[in-house]
């Protein structure tokens, strides 16, 4: 690998671009191919290879593929997965920490300034806005999970309304079965269809018998993880 290529990879990763490093295994020649269409380097990229590599980037799946120039190793670089937590409540504290360790970029959204503070969420991106304002610029995509934790329909409902038609790979909402049934009713009245509302994991989390905030965070992160990899298995 040329130092110049490595520097480029590191800079593009820092800039959170979506790209792949393509290595022709027979010769060691390399190119960087960006999802937005550009490429540069020594490997000849024909349209078949480009489309294979673009699929790999979208599926976040590195691997070895056959190309016209022999076997190619495609190493995908995508920005970190994101977790958007609505509600800077007690459960959000261990969840933000655990998700960070698991590799997520975590953002906590809560319009109540005394909840979302740096003291309670050190190192986490905090957004002190109502979710209906905060969500659209965050643009939840297929590498984003969203969890609402406030129980408060004034905060949770606008958040759900803003993400139910997004590409987010996971949507979860804290609350008992009863709370969730009421939530389903409200969202139905607001014009959301059963398919859209059915995307919500509620009550949130895998059933682990979790009691403490940290245990509930484990059950939520476990469900997010399983959903992420279920999608990968479907894509494969």
């Amino acid at each position: 690998m040329k130092q110049q290529i490595l520097k480029r990879v590191l800079a593009d990763r820092e800039a959170k671009r979506q790209f792949a490093l393509v290595t022709r295994l027979e010769t060691g020649e390399q190119s960087i191919l960006y999802l937005d269409g550009a490429d540069e380097g020594e490997v000849e990229i024909d349209s078949a290879l480009r489309s294979t590599v673009e699929d790999a980037i979208r599926d976040d799946r590195s691997g070895t593929v056959a190309g016209a120039g022999g076997d190619m190793f495609v190493e995908v670089f995508n920005p970190p997965l994101r977790l958007l937590i609505v509600g800077a409540v007690h459960i959000a504290q261990p969840l933000a920490r655990m998700a960070s360790v698991a590799g997520y970029d975590v953002t906590v959204i809560d319009p109540r300034g005394s909840f979302a503070t740096d003291d309670r969420f050190p190192g986490v991106t905090l957004v002190n806005e109502w979710p209906d304002e905060a969500m659209p610029p965050l643009d939840p995509d297929r590498r984003t999970a969203v969890v609402t934790l406030t129980h408060d329909p004034k905060i949770d409902d606008p958040a759900l309304a803003a993400v139910l038609r997004s590409d987010a790979f996971y949507i979860g909402a804290l609350g008992s079965r009863k709370t969730h049934a009421a939530r389903v009713e409200r969202l139905t009245e607001s014009g959301f269809g059963a398919d859209e509302i059915g995307r919500i994991h509620g009550p949130v989390g895998l059933s682990l018998g979790a009691v403490s905030p940290a245990e509930i965070a484990v059950s939520i992160l476990a469900q997010v993880t399983r959903t992420l990899h279920d999608k990968e298995r479907v894509a494969a």
Binding site: M1, K2, Q3, L6, K7, V9, L10, R13, T23, L25, T27, G28, S62, G63, T64, F73, E75, V76, P80, R97, S100, V101, A102, G103, Y104, D105, V106, P122, G123, V124
Partner: protein, 115 residues
């Protein structure tokens, strides 16, 4: 994440590539090993990295420790010749003195010199 969060994202061994760059800029001879294919229960996913210098210092991992020694050894030749290599490791007999994966998986590792 910021260091003051008290946690570090460890799911991706991203810092291995950065370490390789720093070593090279310090004038050291460096090779990068990358997992390019796996079968069965191999411990590290495709895209995992190990950076090695000519003094056999290393950072990162391409297995749970099963084959690192062998990869570091092979990397010395890659550093000397500048020619990339694909190393193939499979199931080992735990009673034999060969290098392999006790877990029963198979892994291919691409080793290249950082020019």
């Amino acid at each position: 994440m910021a260091a003051d969060a008290g946690v570090t994202a460890i799911s991706k061994d991203d810092d291995v590539l950065n370490e390789a760059r720093v070593w090279r800029e310090d004038g050291r001879d460096v090779a990068i090993a990358t997992v390019i294919r796996t079968w069965g229960s191999s411990p590290r996913p495709v895209g995992s990295h190990l950076a090695i210098d000519s003094g056999q210092n290393f950072v990162g991992s391409v297995s749970g420790g099963c084959i690192e020694g062998a990869v570091i050894h092979e990397a010395q030749e890659v550093i000397a010749t500048g020619k990339p290599k694909i190393l193939e490791y499979g199931v080992t007999n735990e009673l034999a003195w060969e290098v392999g994966l006790a877990c029963g998986g198979q892994v291919h590792v691409y080793v290249e010199k950082l020019d």
